[in-house]
């Protein structure tokens, strides 16, 4: 486990998720001159969410490249630059735009190493966003991490805290395989403790965000916060939830999930992708396969409704999992209605 509390360090400060991500990229750019950032409005604008503010001032426009609005073009260029000695960080402003770049991501980046028999590699990081409830409607609100998690050859990161975001981003940039890094845009201003000292978090290591004995809540990205909120409420009722954050869907720390569920005997999976055919289904299947004989109840899944994300706030709020909905599911699972 590598949660902040378990790490021996003298100096800590509070950072937002956005600051933690920026700090990780800046540190890696200082450490390795082959790292550069490319995408729409990444330089002076620092992205619409201001995640990259200040980078161009430090590193210049040769290493923080504003592009035309040409996602397939600059993503493909990221692949080619990665194959020839660079470590690009490609910025896809909204996760929804993955629809524009899937050839470059799924047919090129993911397959180059394998197709070449291991001779070529693609040390590429693609940053993009996920998450609804920003009133951005159907084309700026999707959580499409299942798309890329399904393609062998891509690693997929879903940080839930500033601490995780920084440590995982540094590992993503140093990784020799293509990594897709999903940032929940609703969490950019979420604050958390981050050490001053340098650290990295390996890809493929789950983290127990809250220990508990009655039920395991396997949650990804911002759904970790939902799970922690539900766990707090349920604790008042005598139900001790263990919140496990896989942090990466590829590689997936299957052992950690299975081990937790074998102890608690119950599991709920919470993921903001659409409920059907998604990451939640995979996580539930892993637990069902690995802990079946320990389970006291069926594994349950909470995900976004299988509808395009609507604009109207009244409708949009119905589509994503909530702490209340999760708590109700857990009570049902533990037969304490």
């Amino acid at each position: 486990m590598s949660s902040p509390d378990s790490m021996a360090t003298d100096e800590w400060r509070e950072l937002t998720m956005a600051q933690a991500i920026r700090e990780a990229i800046a540190e890696e750019m200082r450490r390795d001159e082959s790292v550069f950032v490319i995408g729409e409005d990444v330089a002076e604008a620092g992205t619409p969410f201001k995640v990259l503010s200040g980078l161009v001032e430090e590193f210049g426009t040769d290493r923080v490249l504003d592009t035309p609005i040409s996602e397939p073009g600059f993503t493909g260029m990221g692949v080619g630059a990665a194959m020839t000695g660079r470590r690009p960080v490609v910025d896809i402003m909204f996760g929804d735009f993955l629809g524009l770049v899937m050839d470059q991501v799924a047919n090129q980046a993911a397959k180059v190493h394998y197709m070449s028999g291991g001779k070529l590699s693609v040390p590429l990081t693609i940053r993009t966003t996920m998450g609804a409830t920003r009133r951005s409607a159907a084309q700026h609100s999707q959580s499409l991490h299942a798309w890329v998690s399904h393609i062998p050859g891509l690693k997929v990161v879903l940080p839930s805290t500033p601490y995780d975001a920084k440590g995982l981003m540094k590992s993503a940039i140093r990784d020799n395989s293509p990594v897709v890094f999903f940032e929940d845009k609703m969490n950019y201003q979420q604050r958390g403790r981050v050490p001053v000292a340098e650290y990295t978090i390996p890809l493929g290591l789950a983290d127990i965000k809250r220990p508990g004995k009655d039920v395991t809540l396997i949650a990804t990205s911002s759904m970790v916060l939902v799970a922690l909120e539900a766990a707090e409420v349920l604790a008042q009722e005598g139900i001790e939830c263990e919140v496990v954050d896989p942090r990466t869907t590829v590689p997936l720390d299957r052992d950690a999930l299975i081990e937790s569920v074998r102890r608690t005997t119950r599991a709920v999976v919470i993921d903001e992708g659409h409920r059907s055919y998604g990451v939640g289904a995979e996580l539930a299947a892993v637990v069902a396969e690995g802990a079946f004989y320990y389970l006291d109840a069926p594994v349950r899944r909470l995900g976004a409704m299988d509808v395009p994300i609507p604009f109207s706030p009244v409708l949009e709020d119905l589509t994503v999992p909530t702490a209340e909905g999760l708590a109700a599911t857990v009570r049902e699972l533990c037969r304490r209605k």
């Binding site: 990221g78 080619g80 630059a81 194959m83 394998y114 197709m115 070529l120 050859g153 020799n176 395989s177």
Partner: protein
Amino acid sequence: MDESLAPPDAASGPGPNWLRAYRLMLTIRLFEDRVNDLYQRKLMPGLAHLSSGEEGVAVGVCTALRDDDYITSTHRGHGHCLAKGASPDLMFAELLGKAAGYCGGKGGSMHIADQARGNLGANAIVGGSLGIATGAGLSIKQRGTDQVAVSFIGDGALGQGVLYEVMNMASLWKLPVIYVCENNLYGEYTPGAETVAGKPLDRALAFGIPATEVDGQDVRAVYQAMATAVAHSRGGGGPAFLLCSTYRYFGHHVGDVDRGYYRSREEEQFWREHRDPITLAREWLEAEGMADRASLEGLAEELTRELDAAVEFALAAPFPDPDQVATDVFA
């Protein structure tokens, strides 16, 4: 020729070894003949897109390149690969899915990569490697070397939007990328006249990219145009676009035999008889006194023996171990 492309030193230097260029073209032709044969005899799995008839483009272009220059290739890429220096035996092994192949048998005909000679790989998506080649150009610029990156594409790729995205960025940022479009008149089973509006060269010129059309059946003309483009790009002038008129002798792939609905036998016969890049080069070599009929026949016999041996090597080579199926997924 766009006027912004001044005659470079590279094109007026001592020039290439034309006998070597001829040898490469003949190697490609004999290679493709054997691919066709292996495929017809059901010894080769998968698909085979032959580049017979287009040898002048592959060899003319690659003759103007250095070993450390990059290329990306297409599904019709055997010629590019050989012209960039790949070894026929390891290519045949790859085509047959053998462990000794360039990609350990994991890539096959449409994905041969040979990073030791700057070949970043063939690509089975039409236009799929345009981003890769342009990104290699960005990498070159960032690293400050004087390499160039060449993106071989077919006329079919003129229909892919990503071409216009990357040409725009290559021109904006003056990247050393040369887009070589092999116009063999047909995108799969459809004549280009039905799919390409306006003039292809205008599409590059619209981005401020110097663009030239050249007779792809004349290896010397391709070389001269390419040497000019390379000098332009290597010198920091930014991207260039080369449109090479050529012809594929076979169908879209080996199985495309009944093709009367999209082109005539007479047309195919005309190109083979009057526009064959190897015949044209041979006639020139003989006329210039650089080779005589007997020595070229001797060369053909030598290459035939070499390529037959390469096929034998590949046929005898072992398949990959089953445990290789799950390696190389991640670097």
